[in-house]
C-alpha cells in the first residue's frame, strides 16, 4: 500500500488484500494487489469523500446533503458486512487450518472463499421464492444490488470494480486492469472532457472480414 489507510485497520487490510488477490490473481498480468484494489475499497468505506470523482479527475465531488445522508447509510451497511465477513474468513481459517486467512496458502484461501460463496448461494428460509429468483437472476447477470448484497458478492463485485474502473478511484493502477483485457481507456478523465479520447481507431475500416486474422 502506498497510501495512508483511511478506514480499514491493518489486519482488515491484509485480510482483504489476500482475499481480493484470490478474486483477481496475478499471473502473466498484474492482479488485485498490483492494481491497488484495497486502496480503492479503503477509500470507499472511509465515508463520502470518494464517491464521485470530479469529472476532470482533479479530486472528488462534495455530495449534497440528501446524497451524503443516503451514502453514509449505504456505507455503514457495507462496513458492517465487511467487518463480519472478514471475521468469518479468519474464523473458518483458524478452525480448519489453524491460521488466520491472510497466512493460508492460496489453495487454502480459495477453499475458504468457496465455502463462503456456497453459504451465500443457499437462500435462507425467510427469503420468498420471488426474491430468491430475482437474486439468482442478478447473480447470473454478474450485476448485483449493492444495498442488499452479502459479503462475498460485495467482495467480488468491488474487486472487479476496483480493478477495472478509472484509476482516479485508487485501483486499476497504471491502467493495469484495462491493459489486461485490451481496453484502450482514456489516459485521464480530463482527456475525455477535452475530447482527446476517441475509439475511432477500433471501428471497422473496410478490411475484408474473411481475410482478417486477429
Amino acid at each position: 500500500m502506498t497510501e495512508a489507510p483511511l478506514f480499514l485497520n491493518d489486519h482488515q487490510r491484509y485480510t482483504l488484500q489476500a482475499a481480493m488477490e484470490r478474486v483477481m490473481p496475478a499471473d502473466d498480468d498484474p492482479g488485485a494487489t498490483d492494481a491497488g484494489t484495497v486502496i480503492w475499497l479503503d477509500r470507499y468505506l472511509s465515508g463520502t469523500g470518494y464517491i464521485h470523482a470530479k469529472p476532470d479527475g482533479s479530486g472528488f465531488l462534495n455530495l449534497g446533503p440528501r446524497e451524503a445522508a443516503v451514502w453514509l447509510g449505504r456505507i455503514d451497511r457495507l462496513r458492517a458486512v465487511y467487518a463480519a465477513g472478514l471475521s468469518d474468513l479468519d474464523l473458518r481459517s483458524s478452525s480448519q487450518y489453524g491460521h488466520e486467512f491472510s497466512r493460508l496458502a492460496p489453495g487454502q484461501q480459495d477453499e475458504i472463499l468457496r465455502q463462503v460463496e456456497q453459504a451465500e448461494a443457499t437462500p435462507s428460509a425467510a427469503e420468498s421464492d420471488a426474491s430468491a429468483q430475482r437474486a439468482a437472476k442478478r447473480a447470473n447477470e454478474n450485476s448485483f444490488d449493492e444495498d442488499t448484497a452479502p459479503f462475498f458478492q460485495l467482495l467480488v463485485a468491488h474487486t472487479r470494480q476496483a480493478f477495472y474502473s478509472d484509476p482516479v478511484y485508487g485501483g486499476n493502477r497504471d491502467r493495469v486492469g484495462w491493459k489486461t483485457i485490451g481496453f484502450p481507456g482514456p489516459m485521464s478523465l480530463a482527456d475525455t472532457q477535452a475530447n482527446r479520447y476517441t475509439t475511432e481507431a477500433y471501428f471497422a475500416d473496410g478490411t475484408d472480414l474473411d481475410v482478417e486474422n486477429s
Partner: protein
Amino acid sequence: MSAPKPDSTGFCIIGGGASGATAAKLLTEAGHRIVLLERGPWRAFSDFSSDELANINRHYLTPDPKISPRTVRHTSEEEAERGEFAPTPYLVGGGTTHWAGWVPRMLASDFRQRSLHGEIGGASLVDWPISYDELEPYYSQVEWALGVSGAAGANKFESHRSRPYPLPPLPSTRYSRRFTRGCDGLGWNSFPMPTAQLSAPYRGRPATVQSAFVNFIGDPSGTRSGVLATFIPDALATGRLDLRPNSYVRELAVDARGRIRAAVYEDADGHLVEQEADTFILACNAIESARLLLMSASPRFPDGLANDNGLVGRYLTAHEYTEALGVFDDELLYPWAGGGFITSATYQFYQTDYARGFIGGGLIAAGSAGIGLPANWTLPGHPRWGAAAKNFDREYFNRGMSAGIVLNDLPQEANRVDLDPTVKDAWGLPVARVTHQAHPNDIAQANFLVDRCADILEAAGASKVWRNYISELTGNSRHQHGTLRMGDDPSSSVVDRWCQAHSVPGLVVVDGSTFPTPGGVNPTLTIMANAWRVIDHLLSASA
C-alpha cells in the same frame, strides 16, 4: 417555508427532457416567454466524464433508489417491493443524457393496431387517434433539427418519408459489420441505425466524438445530440426561457372551477414555490407524469387530476430489452467502440405474421453485450472470480456482442402506475408503484425475436450463441408509455388527439405517456415528433 411568488407565465413546462425541451424550443422561438421546471440539476458538459463507476454503479446519472425509489409488483394482489422499473435521469436533458441516440421511426401500422388485429384477449388494443401520415412531417422536423445520421431508403420496411436524413450514417463498427453479414447471409434486410449523433459537422456543431463511454453515461464532449446540446441551447438563445433546475413539482393545484391554479414545487433550498400559468405542459415521462397527476388530488378531482374515468396511470407499456449473445473466435469486435451501439438494425420481423402465433414484432439491432465496459461487462457462463474469471475476461472482453430487440408489448388495463401507499421518497412524497404482468403475446413475441437474433449471430459466424428468453417485463429498456392515453373518446382516454386533457383545460401532455400503443422501436424520436406536432397546434390555435 415558502418563497416569493414568481410572476405568472403563459406556458409552464414541467420536465426538461426530450419532450419538454422540444416544447421549450418551439414556444420560445415563436416568441413566448416560458418557465421550465426541472426537478433535477442542470449540468454543464464539464460535469460529465467517462467515469464508468460513477455513472453505472454509483447513481451519478440515474436516480439513487434510496432517494427516489419505486416499487414493483406483478398483480394488484401482491405486495409491491422496492425495485427499479424504467429509471431515467432526473436532469435537464432527461433520458437524452443517458441514451445512445437510436432514433428509428415507428411504422404506419403502429398507429392502427386495433384496426389491423381486432380485439386481443387480455389486452386493450386501440388505434392511435392520429395516423402516421399526420406525424410524418414532424419526424422529419426532429431529424433535421437534431442532425440525425442515417440512410434514407436503406430500411426497406420503413413507411413513407418526406425527406432524407440530413447526415450520412456514422462509420461502421466491427460488431455492426458482423450483424450486417449475418442478415445478408439470411437474405434479411438491414440498415445503418439512424442515430442522434453527428457523422459530420452540422449547423455549427462538430462531429460526434466516438468515446467508449456512452450508454447510461453523460457526455462530456457535448457532441452527442441530446437536448442538452441542441434544443435547450436553442431555447436559451431566444432569451425567453426561464429554466429552473432543482425545482421538484409536487402538485398541480386546482381552483374551484377545476382549472390548474399553479404548479407547486420545492426549490433547491426547500422552499415551496407556486408558479401560475395559463397553460401547463406535462413532460415528466410516463411514470412520473402519471404520478404527478395522481398526487394532485383536489375536491374537484378526488382521485387525481384529469382522472375522472380512473384511467390515469393505466395501460403502461415498457418495451423490454432482451437479446441473443454471441462470441466470435475469428475477430476482435471491440464491442465498446463508439459506446457499443453505433450499429445496424433490421425490421425484418417487425410486422405481424399470424402464422407465428402472436401479433406484432419489433426492431432487432446489434450492440455490445449489456454494458460492454470493463467494470460491468459480462457474458453468460462468466466465472465469478479467480483465475477462471480473469482468463474469461482476457479471452472474451473484446469478442462478445449482442443482437437485441425492442419488444412491442401490448397495453393492458391492469398494468398501471399508482401511488405506493407506504413508500415515500426523500422529500416525503409517495412514490410510483408499478403493477405489471406480461401478456402471453409479449413473451411469445420476445422469445421469437430472440431466436431470430440468434439466427443472425450464427449466420455471422459466432462460435457460441446464448439466448436470453424472458418471462416477465422488468423495465430494463427504460422506455415507458401509455399511462395518459391519447384518444378521441373522453370515457376511454385521458387526453385528446392534441394531447390536451379531456377534463382539465390548460393541461397538455407531451411525453410518451400519451402513446396508445408503444411500437417496437426506441420511442424518443416519436415522443419528440409528437411533442412538435402538439405544440405546433397549440401555437396555431393561440395565434
